[in-house]
Amino acid sequence: MTLVILGMRSLLRNPYRSVLTSLGILIGVLSVVVLTGIAFGAKSLVLRSIQNLGPNLLVVIPGSVTDSGAQVGGGTETTLTADDARAIRRQCPDIWNASGALRTAAQVQSPHANWSTVILGAEPSYLPVRDWRLARGGFFGEEEERGMARVAVLGRIVATRLFGLEDPVGKFVQINHSPFRVIGILSSKGQSPMGMNQDDMVVVPLTTLQSQIMGVSYVGVILAAATSPDRVDAAKREIRGILRLRHHIPTGGRSDFEIQAMSDISKTANRISLILTVLLALIASISLIVGGVGILNIMLVSVRERTREIGIRMAIGARPRDILVQFLSEAAALSFFGALAGGVGGILFLDGIHLLVGWPTPIPWEGLFLTVAGATLLGTLFGLYPAWSASRLDPMEALRYE
């Protein structure tokens, strides 16, 4: 113990150099902590937005996938209809509900303002499928859907842009110069995984959008909710079977639609972010190793510089082991305090990113402790050789060293 203190005291005798030496380890730990923290944050961001869509959700899009996996004309073909959505809703035992949806961009006007946004045509089942709630008012039902009623449900952002603090429910907005009665306001949902803000949107009945605004009869997408997360795969098979039958696709022929399950996407996202985290940590570890080499270097210089001191200590009765422990504890202290400072710096850095950019940057505590411990061990290992060579010095030669 006394020898360990001795090692630390000799570090304090050269504070400038000690700090500079630990700087390498400090930066190494800092970069490991910060990069894994950012990777964790990005992962939680992606997963949260996927979770937002619902883990049971299946998305059917028109278009096909080539053999190489590249999608051809995904989302632009017009092979899906509201009848497909109805068939999925009625005939798939593992589908709890489904809704066709179609979107376009349009100007929406209130008496006070006008706002360019997305108009989404959806069926009454859209809301439960998306597990979405209303903030105020109501949603349209079968009757409005059949009657192509001019009713609209506003997203949060649209409501604020057009009506400010007023309550829009019961008021009218103009979409393509036709008046729509506002019947409800959607609760806030935030960003979609594709980076679109889902609150900047107006929802109208699908039939109204198809016939009165766009003049088409297809749907852009069918959203379907499986009865439970573990029935997603079965539901996927059922949808495939029904749609191939309805679209008269022969056995072995290529489907003219594609089904994506949110759970698959989240699995992929998880895997990608894991690879990302490992990769970032690996790159950051390189700087950690550079820091270790810095300790090796300084310790070698230090042993050489203090050869006479080592000789004196040996003459006075320091055993080789005592010298080894002294220099090893110097290396350990250098790397431990460097790693500790790097860890604290990393936490502050991540907090700073969170405050400045608003990303979620969870502190990777487990990784943090592991990194600090690993860096200390690494630095000590790099100090082993210099300490060992110091302990092997011949006392007589060391004393004569100039």
């Binding site: 006394t2 009765g317 320091a318 055993r319 082991r321 005592d322 011949d394």
Partner: protein
Amino acid sequence: MVVRDGPGLSVRLEAVTKIYTVSGEELPALRGISLSIPAGESVAIVGSSGSGKSTLLHLMGLLDRPTSGAVFYDNRRVDTLSPSERAVLRNRSVGFVFQNFQLIPRTSAIENVELPLLYRRLPARERRERARDLLASVGMGDRERHTSSQLSGGQQQRVAIARAIAASPGLLLADEPTGNLDSRSAATILDLLLSLQSRFSTTLVLVTHDMEVARHAQTTFRVRDGLPEDPQ
């Protein structure tokens, strides 16, 4: 004041030789010296520079090992011990005083004196108290916190002597202890060494080229070209 653990140590060298090999060439420093120093005696080893007198001292102090021959402490052979065992023996039985003082740089006087006690695993409080007493006994009680660069040569040598006797060794080895000092400091240091020797009946070996210094020792041993000049 420090209490001696026991009487001085007797040292015996038997036909020791030391040959240094420098870039393939063999340079004999000692060609066969036998020497016996009884416990508690003071001996001056005298010779010109290059005569091998310092090498002799280093062999006695277990800092180095003879190429052939043997070293005995109180009739126990010690040159064949492991580096670690020799370190323990140096710590417990030998005190060194060097010509260039060999204090650890940037380290206070009291910490220097504490060092041998630290390697002896003495508790911190005891170390500190003992080192304080020792510094006071060599007249350096008011310079505890000074580092070597803040001390004169004579003062540094006094700290070095305090350090040499800190572990109450039976054998005190001084290699030209007055070589770097002015005549007044030299006289003080010599007096200090001799008074310690007589007070604790420590064995004192003094290496010098100065006959005036050697005169103070009880016996004188002359070395020339690695051989005894006038065998005892």
